[in-house]
């Protein structure tokens, strides 16, 4: 009897030692991730496997890949995310390349100005662009007046190029910040060494600069792509449901008249899978490149 009691007491004290302060400090984080990330995803995955009457079915997933409205949504989301990340990625890389050439004082000023848009709400930015570039926005009015053009002439903010442009407002600064760190870490001696060894300008880029920058660029691109696959608030504010994106479909199936939570869940799982796969691929190739260049 006493032996077992002592054994239990020993186990408890060992458990308490395990639950030392560091572990206790992790609990809020584990709870947070568990309650707001893991539980909802598991719950959603589970519910996506039933129809509205609670019968098990794979129909929601079959729908996601067969119904034209969903297939277009997936295609549009992929195209949009790719386009917006490329605009942001390339634009941000160029801005970063220019910024690192500036004297430190100007560079820091520029970079903090550039970080500003990222702190703004997507809704606010959408309305700002509507005021500037909506059908009767200030810039459209000014251009029409300046060139005496008919009211049918305007820059269409509400089509794909317009939406991509508004998102570029967030995406370019984001990429600029991550790429300027990458550029700053590029040892200028590498470029000089390459030239010294006989490389012409294009060869320096082809064989040295681009390969060295690529891991950082890919890491930046994954942030871009993940963000754009889930793009939602700004696009909703701009065009409502007039454009067919996966994020908008999920929204409409979880809150609008087309309410169908299991279907929304299945679409969300598709979105998570696509984004997750893309991120894995990008980080895998970035790590492969970085391992060589660490």
């Amino acid at each position: 009897m006493t032996v077992t009691l002592r054994g239990i007491r020993g186990n408890i004290s060992r458990l308490l030692r395990l639950l030392s302060l560091e572990v206790l400090l992790l609990i809020p984080f584990i709870l947070f991730v568990g309650l707001f990330e893991i539980y909802p995803i598991l719950n959603m995955a589970y519910r996506s496997l039933f129809d509205l009457n609670g019968n098990f079915t794979l129909a929601n997933y079959i729908n996601a890949f067969t119904k034209p409205q969903f297939r277009f949504a997936i295609r549009n989301s992929l195209l949009f995310a790719t386009a917006a990340s490329l605009v942001g990625g390339i634009g941000g890389t160029f801005v970063a390349a220019l910024a690192v050439r500036l004297p430190a004082r100007w560079r820091n000023l520029l970079l903090s100005l550039y970080a500003l848009p990222m702190t703004l709400s997507g809704l606010v930015v959408a309305f700002a662009f509507i005021v500037l570039l909506g059908r009767n926005g200030i810039l459209n009015l000014l251009v029409r007046r300046a060139f005496s053009l008919p009211p049918t002439f305007y820059f269409n903010l509400y089509d794909w190029p317009g939406i991509v442009m508004v998102y570029a407002f967030f995406q370019i600064p984001l990429m600029t910040l991550s790429m300027s760190a990458v550029f700053e870490n590029l040892d200028p001696n590498l470029i000089e060494a390459a030239r010294n060894l006989g490389a012409r300008s294009w060869q320096v880029w082809r064989y040295v600069v681009i390969p060295v920058l690529l891991p950082g660029f890919l890491a930046g691109m994954s942030i871009q792509f993940a963000g754009m696959m889930g793009a939602f608030g700004t696009v909703l504010a701009l065009v409502g449901m007039a454009k067919n994106l996966l994020s908008l479909q999920i929204y409409s199936h979880s809150s609008e008249s087309t309410y169908n939570l299991p279907q929304a869940g299945a679409l969300a799982m598709v979105l998570i899978t696509i984004t997750g796969t893309a991120l894995l691929l990008l980080s895998w190739s970035a790590r492969r490149l970085a391992r060589r260049g660490a």
Partner: protein, 355 residues
């Protein structure tokens, strides 16, 4: 192999004059060091020769070829950087073969050269490693091999050993000299380490504030410094500030010291007497000091143990003189004891204080 000639090189950065009127001829197969404190312009000279900086005036030749307007990639001058500057995404072999790959040389030739270079710098078996898998010393060997692989006419080394540990530094220093001698390649070597410069150069150029202070063999630089800067920068030196009473009497405060006359120094001129600590002798008694020697009485203030040698700090005439000797001898002088420093009139070098 080739001669390098630099004529009247001047380079400014904004209002700062980095290099002023620098002229130097480096003979075929010679290793010349540019020695000086950081910011003295030595690296700028190297970068002008490599083509990374444009001289504001002056001309640079390799043999009879004027380089001023030749872009760096066409100069055929190899360079090794302090930070190694190895391409991080390429293996050792790819780094070494870079100059041949750029020129589109056939694969067999590239492999042949890599093999040759890897043997030359003792990196056998490391061909497929990436730079981050190598130690600092190994990285610098790769950088050296990469620069030599393009068979440069001239080799430039910019503080190649500064980032390395003392032990590796000494080892690699010998390797660099061996390889340089083997290939007979004309070499310019930038360093702020006077010991390094003395140990591996045929000639040393001492620079300060963008100007040449002195050019000479390591022996001349050490034993016959011509400016106060060279005397104090290279090795340890006691500099006594005084005036010439006559052509062979140097007056240091109340003391008159006999010295070897110097044809360039007039009576009455303000000069330094430069005395190496290891050339001074110390006795506890004045007896037995050769009559021809100059004698300075003093008191031992401190004894420093430096391993093979011991260094006495002796206060004489209100100033501290350093005297070096084998450390077991140095430890025989108690702190506070009265001593007599003495030295032969041939010892020491008179340096003008007027510039």
């Amino acid at each position: 192999m080739a001669r390098v000639v630099v004529e009247g090189l001047t380079k400014r950065f904004g209002r700062v004059v980095a290099v002023q009127d620098f002229s130097l001829e480096v003979e075929e197969g010679e290793l010349v060091s540019l020695l000086g404190p950081s910011g003295c312009g030595k690296t700028t000279v190297l970068r002008c020769i490599a083509g990374f900086e444009r001289p504001d005036s002056g001309r640079i030749f390799v043999d009879d070829w004027l380089l001023n307007d030749v872009p760096p990639e066409r100069r055929g001058i190899g360079m090794v950087f302090q930070t190694y500057a190895l391409f991080p995404h390429m293996t050792v072999a790819e780094n070494i073969a870079f100059s041949l790959m750029i020129r589109g040389r056939p694969r067999e030739e590239q492999e042949q050269v890599v093999k040759e270079m890897v043997t030359l710098v003792h990196l056998e078996g490391m061909e497929d490693r990436y730079p981050h898998q190598l130690s600092g010393g190994q990285r610098q060997r790769v950088a050296l091999a990469r620069a030599l692989a393009m068979r440069p006419k001239v080799l430039l080394l910019d503080e190649p050993l500064s980032a390395l540990d003392a032990k590796i530094r000494e080892e690699l220093r010998g390797e660099i000299r061996r390889i340089q001698k083997t290939l007979g390649i004309t070499t310019l070597y930038v360093t702020h380490d006077q010991e390094e410069a003395l140990a591996l150069s045929d000639r040393v150029v001492v620079m300060n504030m963008g100007r040449i202070e002195q050019i000479g063999t390591p022996f001349e630089i050490y034993n016959a410094p011509r400016t106060p800067f060279v005397a104090s920068f290279v090795g340890t030196m006691n500099l006594l500030s005084g005036r010439m009473d006559s052509e062979n009497i140097f007056r240091w405060k109340e003391q008159a010291l006999r010295i070897r006359p110097d044809p360039n120094i007039r009576a009455g001129q303000a000069v330094y007497l430069a005395l190496r600590p290891e050339r001074l002798k110390v006795s506890l008694t004045p007896e037995g000091i050769p009559p021809v020697h100059n004698i300075l009485p003093g008191q031992v203030e401190w004894v420093t143990f430096l391993g093979p040698i011991g260094r006495l700090s002796v206060r004489s005439n209100g100033e501290i003189l350093l005297v070096d000797m084998p450390s077991d001898e140095a430890l025989r002088f108690p702190v506070g004891s009265s001593v007599w420093i003495h030295f032969h009139p041939e010892t020491g070098q008179v340096i003008s204080r007027e510039r």
